[in-house]
Symmetry: C2
Subunit: 625 residues, 2 copies
Amino acid sequence: MEPENPPEPSQDSVSLLKRLAGPSSTKAGLTHDQTAINRIIAEASKGSKFYENEKRKDKELSERIAKILKQRDEALQGVDIRPIERNTDHLLEELESQRDLSQIVVHVDMDAFYCSVELLDDPSLQGKPFAVGGGVLSTASYEARKFGARSGMATFVAKKLCPDLILLKSNFERYSEMSDKVMDIFERYDPTMLAAGCDEGYLNITKYCEEHMVDADTCVQEIRDTVFRETSLTVSAGIAPNKMLAKICSDKNKPNGQYHLPFDRASIKAFMHDLSIRKVPGVGRVNERLLEALGIKTCGDIFKHRATLQLMDKQFGLVFLLRTYLGIASNVVQPIQREEKKSIGAESNKTQILRKLEEVAGELEDDMVRGGWTGKTVTLKFKLDTFQVFTRAKSFDRWVSSKKEDLFAIGKELLLPELPLTLRLIGLRVTKLKDLHAPEPLGGIKRFFEPANSSPRKRPRLASNTEDCNDEEHDTGEDHESMPGFYEEEENAEGRGFDAPDNEEQIHISHDSNPPHHERRIRPPVSAPGPSRSRPSDSPFSATTSKPMSARQGDRVRHQDCPICGKLLETDNKGLNAHIDFCLSRNVIMEAQTDAQSTPKNPKKSKDLVLSWPSSVKGKRKQKG
Amino acid sequence: MEPENPPEPSQDSVSLLKRLAGPSSTKAGLTHDQTAINRIIAEASKGSKFYENEKRKDKELSERIAKILKQRDEALQGVDIRPIERNTDHLLEELESQRDLSQIVVHVDMDAFYCSVELLDDPSLQGKPFAVGGGVLSTASYEARKFGARSGMATFVAKKLCPDLILLKSNFERYSEMSDKVMDIFERYDPTMLAAGCDEGYLNITKYCEEHMVDADTCVQEIRDTVFRETSLTVSAGIAPNKMLAKICSDKNKPNGQYHLPFDRASIKAFMHDLSIRKVPGVGRVNERLLEALGIKTCGDIFKHRATLQLMDKQFGLVFLLRTYLGIASNVVQPIQREEKKSIGAESNKTQILRKLEEVAGELEDDMVRGGWTGKTVTLKFKLDTFQVFTRAKSFDRWVSSKKEDLFAIGKELLLPELPLTLRLIGLRVTKLKDLHAPEPLGGIKRFFEPANSSPRKRPRLASNTEDCNDEEHDTGEDHESMPGFYEEEENAEGRGFDAPDNEEQIHISHDSNPPHHERRIRPPVSAPGPSRSRPSDSPFSATTSKPMSARQGDRVRHQDCPICGKLLETDNKGLNAHIDFCLSRNVIMEAQTDAQSTPKNPKKSKDLVLSWPSSVKGKRKQKG
DNA sequence: TACCATAAA
DNA sequence: TACTTTTATGGTA
DNA sequence: GAGCAAAGC
DNA sequence: TACTGCTTTGCTC
Ligand SMILES: Nc1ncnc2c1ncn2[C@H]1C[C@H](O)[C@@H](COP(=O)(O)OP(=O)(O)OP(=O)(O)O)O1
Ligand SMILES: Nc1ncnc2c1ncn2[C@H]1C[C@H](O)[C@@H](COP(=O)(O)OP(=O)(O)OP(=O)(O)O)O1
Ligand SMILES: [Mg+2]
Ligand SMILES: [Mg+2]
Ligand SMILES: [Mg+2]
Ligand SMILES: [Mg+2]
């Protein structure tokens, strides 16, 4: 802990050291001072291809930062910052005016989930440092975390940090089973809960508390007690007025604790003031570094640099950051709206390319058939021995069949022109999905034989790091009798009954060159991203495959208020973001502010008047004529 | 001419006076001092609903300007303008470096076209003030223009200005005929000419001049001589290195003259310096006023206010204006790329609503059948007695039939919920067109009986202002035997042969309220906009209908260079504009400049390397590894 | 649409 | 010796 | 996709 | 007494 290793300071830059620590270096249960651990991690990796790749990425990021700083200096050149800050302050006022403290949102998250489940099955692990995973840890017990072991860390590195670490193989069926149990309990307290991952979810307990005459703390304690009583698993929870805060709070007293953020403006601002920006969902390690370069480490720093952020809105997403500074975010808690899974895929490492490609095609077939999915585009993903990742995709105007041979053929088509390559991973993914299990629109008479598993619940998979542990239950490929290479078209069905003769594959494969960097601006994740699960229609675990879990993101709402002008937008997030740009560019802030004075709240109206009448005509005439 | 009308200055603001003068107040042949004329025009209109509407629009525009000025002042508040100007200057250098003086572009435009054709048929009109039109003038002879009469002016106003004005009804067949003749002549000098309107076009005569060993002036003189010899019509021309300049120049020596702008940077800059911004194609009366409010009246003023424009890029389209300042624009001359007409419609004034709606449905049927078009969306347009214009549209997933009854029914459906209304005009338009004459993709065996007129040439219509002159040749509606309400689907044909049962019209009619103002930024018109015609596949005149002409816009190219970073973009204008925003936002200007020093020209490359190989993989590995 | 980067469990 | 898997989103060409 | 503003002939 | 008809584009929701 003292500065006594000056001879070999291993030359690594601070940023690289941090980068090598991995993306989950902010997990609960870790030691406060990570510098010693980080040095060991770096030492262990040094010289490997992985290390070189991280170095490259670090360099690229540093260059990107340099560019941004140059741009900032350019923009600030001789500019009087005061009026800009005043402008931002107006915007802050407007945002503040939309704070909603009326809903009690809870984020619940199981403690060291996989490990805790393993502990149930082998109580002798109690108190020992252990972890679940293969070559890489899925998660680690809190004892192991004390040594620095954590999700995503290479096992051999973890062993260096913690020589006594016990490594367990994963049992996804068990995790899935327990996940279901826990989710069912959560659901009792909020039937519209949002399952945001295999081991976590958001609950709006406002109604429950009212109806049962209990306060939030009691209610949450009861939830956690119930979970423990019925499953012997511990869960932590955060209580706050919105999802972002609740999620941050659930981490605060981990493990097996809960934290209730006071529901008033002052407490929230105080809470945010010293909170690391990295804790905010949506800010990962890249954006953490970008913001740090501007001098922003805590959420409180956002305010200090608001002028810079205003000028650099394109890069940094001003509105998101200001709302974060205020501790304002979505408090909508509802299950996934659009019943659409977006993609399904399979990957495999240690590849001998074509052999492995065929394998993943097989796995993908299993998952597609089992889940009842088909899709329109197939994406090949491959990671070079240098750890660089690439994708190659092909879209069809038909639903691709889930037959292993067809998937393999498509994959090959995508892969062959790239050869020769030395790969360390290869994967296939199908997107533009269609749910074959969904109640078909009563189209043709259609298959009486469902592909398999006619359960109405879709059962996506868990993310596994089982690295070649061939425990798939020997697919005795039998019953499914799909079409040659494609399913039949079911949408836009109309017109001729025979095959159109213009079928020469108007299909395009493109080869974009790697664009430099894209300086995305930071945007709030629609909900907590990551392998999430949605309720009640879905379970995140594959029922049969020994593979980990799939993702589903929340807040897929149809309409939301613009945080700036307050207007009710009927659009998705993309549209909302475009609209926010528009508002900002028009400086609607100013107007909104004056508006806000005359009409303190609830800027929506007129919609009723608009309904069945030429709104414009009537409105204009009445107002002006 | 002296200031001697102080008693009744008619209280109109200057802007309103100018607005009442109409959009074509900058035409050639008009007196220099228009103030007296403008006063008469205003006098004549005063008190009418038209006048009130113009006043309203003027007020709205004034408010919009006030807002923008406020925004400008906000943005300039205490800002040091110098670094911004330096930045803009870099951008100007980059833009300048892309100037291309190698192509000789000519814009040819018939003089007082409709009038000149009338003159052929009635030589007694020679030297007299006359015009073509109905209640509104389509165009006026140069004699009439001396009095202030011009396109778009109400006839009764023109009569006030010029009591002896002779008014002629339009003869579109004649104009069409002469248009074809003239275009054929133009085509001899550039087979890839771009017909940009019924009486004008762009020619690239570089090749012709080389091959025939003539200079541009001689060549253009020859063109004009030929036109006059073969048609007795006079044509004016502009010779310049790009389309924008050529178009401006063709107006310079109108009528019956030509102007050759010297092909060097200095001359061009001098030419631009005092040129009214209003002469620039794409800048109409609204943007003229907006720019004027910033102090920009001439193209030279753009430079003076470049810092402001940089800050207000969103409103004003910095790049377009800077290029304009430099006199740089597209020099691509080629006929329309995508063989797609975009819409077809019919309107009629003095409406008794449903009666008239039925009439326009009939006219539309004629035009659709004659032209061989069908489409997917139908738009109803109506103008209130207050001159406010509204549209109501409905889209289908099938091709709408062109039968009068069907069009009428759709129109009624759109109109009825709006009633009661007092209208002064009603119209129907079909968009998302499909060309029934085009060689069908050999789909089903399909109709042997083409709807009518199996000519391979599409013959859209001219814009008429014939206001109820019932000279339609009594539609003896006979032969076409189309489907109930729709044509059969021909695209995406696949799947079941019987009608899908889920056919409950998933069609949406929406009622947006009138959004306030949209502050579009100024952008270059892809070519000269307006009722244009494309060659060689199309004639702009309806062969049979006594109606005026249809439009087609040019420069619909597949790929173009980004004027900032120089990259070759494979995208349409929309994409290009988005990319320009991106470039600007990233301040690529700076880099581009340094780039330009190392690679003076031709920034495109690498594309060849990218082709069949994982560009990214290879490239990165070679460069970095 | 294709491809990449970022984020998350 | 050795550094995951799965899903989602947003931005650009 | 729907609606509107702007531009041009 | 009385102020066009037609087409395209770009932008927002
Ligand atoms: N990077 C990863 N790769 C694979 N699986 C992961 C990864 N991160 C998390 N998981 C799996 C294993 C975890 O037990 C489970 C839940 O994740 P998470 O809630 O973030 O951590 P945790 O539940 O293990 O510990 P904590 O107590 O911090 O919540 O998801
Ligand atoms: N506003 C309008 N409404 C209807 N038709 C128009 C309108 N403007 C122009 N036209 C028709 C009539 C014109 O003769 C023809 C060509 O337009 P244009 O070239 O702009 O003017 P022009 O040829 O009549 O005179 P000029 O000598 O100025 O070119 O298009
Ligand atoms: Mg957890
Ligand atoms: Mg979790
Ligand atoms: Mg003309
Ligand atoms: Mg013309």
